[in-house]
Amino acid sequence: MSKITDTREAVMVGRRTDGSLVRRPLSPHLQAYDMMQMTSALSITHRITGTLWSIGMVFLVWWLVAAAAGEASFNAAQWFFGSFIGVIGLMGLTAVAWYHTLAGIRHLYWDSGRGFDLPTTYLTGRAVLIGTAALTALTWLIMLITWI
């Protein structure tokens, strides 16, 4: 076992059945784990984006119900989505939706029992980030081309 350089590592030390010391891995809890690593940062981002997508679902329900209620209420909803706050919000939700979708594919890949080694984890993590940026840009390019 290597020398401990960080006092927080003391909580990770355990004993094997033969009595020898072992440094045990820890789940990412906030006091003892660097949450700014790509692995843990992308993990909590998946949960945050999933929660934020609920707001997008409320917007979708509003849009559909307004369309069913009639032209006046639909125009009011469209006015909000076309306003400055509406556009910024929808842009954010587009990125949120693509991130959660791509990170979800990454989770399904993990569920198949593959991709757990560190190089692959970093590779798929970067792919999720680049893919989110690319798909968000593509979505808004399509929207702007239709708009203009």
Partner: protein, 130 residues
């Protein structure tokens, strides 16, 4: 010959079923996977469909929603998405909300909100389409 020692109050059948204190086994976990796989194509379809109608009028939008193909996919998306959303937010509440009263209360409020939102959107699509 010594009789086998019973070290647990749980029955052998209960242990084999592996439900534990969560009572649901892997059902919740599995349903999140099933709905996520259903949502994958539906989300890609919906996002790009919505991206192509930023300045659509009420008439254009209601005609689009009213087409059987779009209506069926919308209804499927709403069902899968609200199931997945209820399951996901349930995990967040179970992890972070402390105290049984607050936890059970917010879980019930979550399920009620998801059900009402799903029903409203579904009714809206059906009203336009039918």
């Amino acid at each position: 010959m010594a009789a086998p020692t019973i070290r647990s109050l749980r029955s052998p059948l209960g242990r084999v079923r592996g439900m534990g204190s969560a009572k649901g086994g892997t059902h919740h976990w599995w349903m999140q996977r099933v709905t996520s796989m259903a949502l994958l194509p539906l989300t890609i379809w919906l996002v790009f469909a919505l991206a192509r109608m930023p300045d659509a009028s009420w008439l254009e939008v209601t005609i689009w929603i009213g087409r059987p193909f779009n209506a069926v996919l919308l209804l499927s998306f709403l069902a899968a998405a609200f199931h997945h959303m209820a399951g996901g937010l349930q995990e967040v509440i179970e992890d972070y909300v402390r105290g049984d009263l607050a936890k059970v209360g917010s879980l019930m409020a979550l399920k009620a909100a998801c059900f009402l939102l799903w029903l409203s959107a579904t009714l809206a699509v059906l009203r336009i389409a039918v």
